[in-house]
């Protein structure tokens, strides 16, 4: 595990760049993560996805099913890949400050 500067703060990340201190997440941290994920500058749809993921995570402590994300945001899978080239799990979840998805997903 290494520490990097994101949004002007020292934050611990795992080997694949997911932040390990979810409480430190804010808008600036997200934008710095988006730069790594080739999802910068972040437009309205980027934020729609990130905010949905973030809110779901705070409520249920996991990322939602991808189909739920698509349905609730109205942004289809293809567009998600265009917005976050890493995809919904490795790209959008990382920018939203969620831990790396685990299990057989």
């Amino acid at each position: 595990m290494a520490k990097v500067t994101l949004g002007g703060m020292e934050i611990e990340i795992d080997e694949d760049g997911f932040i390990q201190e979810p409480d430190k997440w804010n808008k600036e941290v997200a934008e710095d993560l988006a730069k790594v994920e080739q999802a910068y500058p972040m437009g309205e749809d980027h934020w729609k996805l990130v905010n949905y993921l973030r809110d779901y995570y705070l409520k249920y402590e996991i990322a939602p099913p991808i189909r739920m994300l698509v349905k609730q945001t109205g942004i289809d899978l293809k567009t998600i890949y265009q917005l976050f080239p890493g995809g919904p799990a490795k790209g959008a979840c990382k920018v939203a400050g969620l831990p790396k998805p685990t299990g057989c997903v």
Binding site: E15, Y60, I62, P64, P65, I66, T102, G103, C104, V105
Partner: protein, 531 residues
Amino acid sequence: MKIEDISKKTGQLVRIEPEDLMPLPYPYDDPANDPVMKEVTQDQKDRYEASLDGILAIGIPKPASREEEERLVRQFLSGLEKLLSQENNWTFLQPLLHSLDYCVKCQICNDSCPAYIASGKKEIYRPTYRPEILRRIINKYIKKRGGLLSRLTGSDIELNWTLVARLAELAYRCTICRKCAQVCPLGVDNGLISHEIRKIFSQEMGIAPRELHEMGTVQQLKAGSSTGITPKALGNIVEFMEEELEEKTGKKIKIPVDKEGADILLIHNAGEFLSWPENTEAFAIIFDAAGISWTLASDLVGYDAVNYGVWYDDIQLARIAVKHAEIARKLKVKKINVGECGHAHKAMIVVADRVLTGELNVPRESAIPILADLVLRDRIRLDPGRNDFPVTLHDPCNMVRLMGIVEPQRQILRKICLQFREMEPRGVDNYCCGGGSGFAIMQSMNFPDWRSAVSGRIKLKQVLDAFRDVISPDIRKYVCAPCSNCKGQFRDLFNYYNVNEKCGIFYGGLVELVVNAMVDVEKPFIDWEWH
């Protein structure tokens, strides 16, 4: 390369060059177009033991001192001694000793190993290489048969930290598909030896891939699922699936949860809920249409059939197996049926037999034969014309080779798919998807590249060969993989090679095809965008 080279401190033992890899058929027949496998960073090489092949499956931190190295080597030896004792390894001692004692090194197993063949026959991946290291360590350091004789007969080995660290990584270059055991005339199981080596590292030294242990079995026992799904989140997801069911079928279909006294407790791999909910929804549609009495469970662990302990740690395996059985008893169901998850089949139905005795010995079966029964006896109305596209079948190793569930899924596909074609070899002779034994969920550093380019390579070849005559991207094709783990591997493998765009090949489970053929479901169930 010799066996004893594993101990030599010569830097990286093996390098995998793109031109070494097994050739692939069209449209991947130009090796220059093979994706370049990611190298770990210099910083990661400095921090982790990467001297086997430059790939990091576990990422063992480098010991800080010589003393630390020596302590770890002593621990390894103590773990190995326990592995060879009845008291500490009553679960697997007999097949382990058999496999150690009876291999005559005829090497007939070599061509059955997906990693060995696809790598261009790298010596370290040979299915007999790993076991021979273990055998020599046992002879010299435990049976004390070393000395002059072993040096003269060329069977010497030096046990040091370099060997131990490389052996740990090497235990995670075998998918434990057990095709080598299938072809061995003496029943030697070199896959089991990989499993036993992993046990030494986990049970005695606390060394295991983070995805399997900390985020896997530990998280499953604590939060309820290796995906992190808690009972509260499950409730939300079930609600979501019921909404989807109504949209897709036009009917209100209830997904029963914690229904006491149901005939069947259906346990899915919880990865389905997050990544492939169409699979769990399809089960609900079929069981509802056939009037089956069934339920899901919402107790911790009860909604996740996986048991990653089966890959690396008997103690974790037992803890999870007992939970599954206790929940079935609590709900007073007649039996547990496991959904489309190969490793859960192995862990819960086969291996758990060593642990679940007396009242805990709840009947545990695969869901696949039930499906075959419903389809073949016309308990649901089906129109194969709805599945008029090329379909091939992948055989999950644990369901098929280990358990012999070969025909039911084929009987289904023959009845509901107009263009079903087999891949070769198939059935119990199949090749692993390349994601077995935990690989499909090990997503860190450069390991995912290795399992696409190397361990999954022969499966990609099989799929391309099966669809050779319809390879154009304009023709949509479906690889039926009735196993969550295999599906995850197909998804990553197909992305790595851009198979979807180049060849129009999609993947998915078995029940989705069944529902897609159901006359009572008006709209097509398969939504290609999601496969």
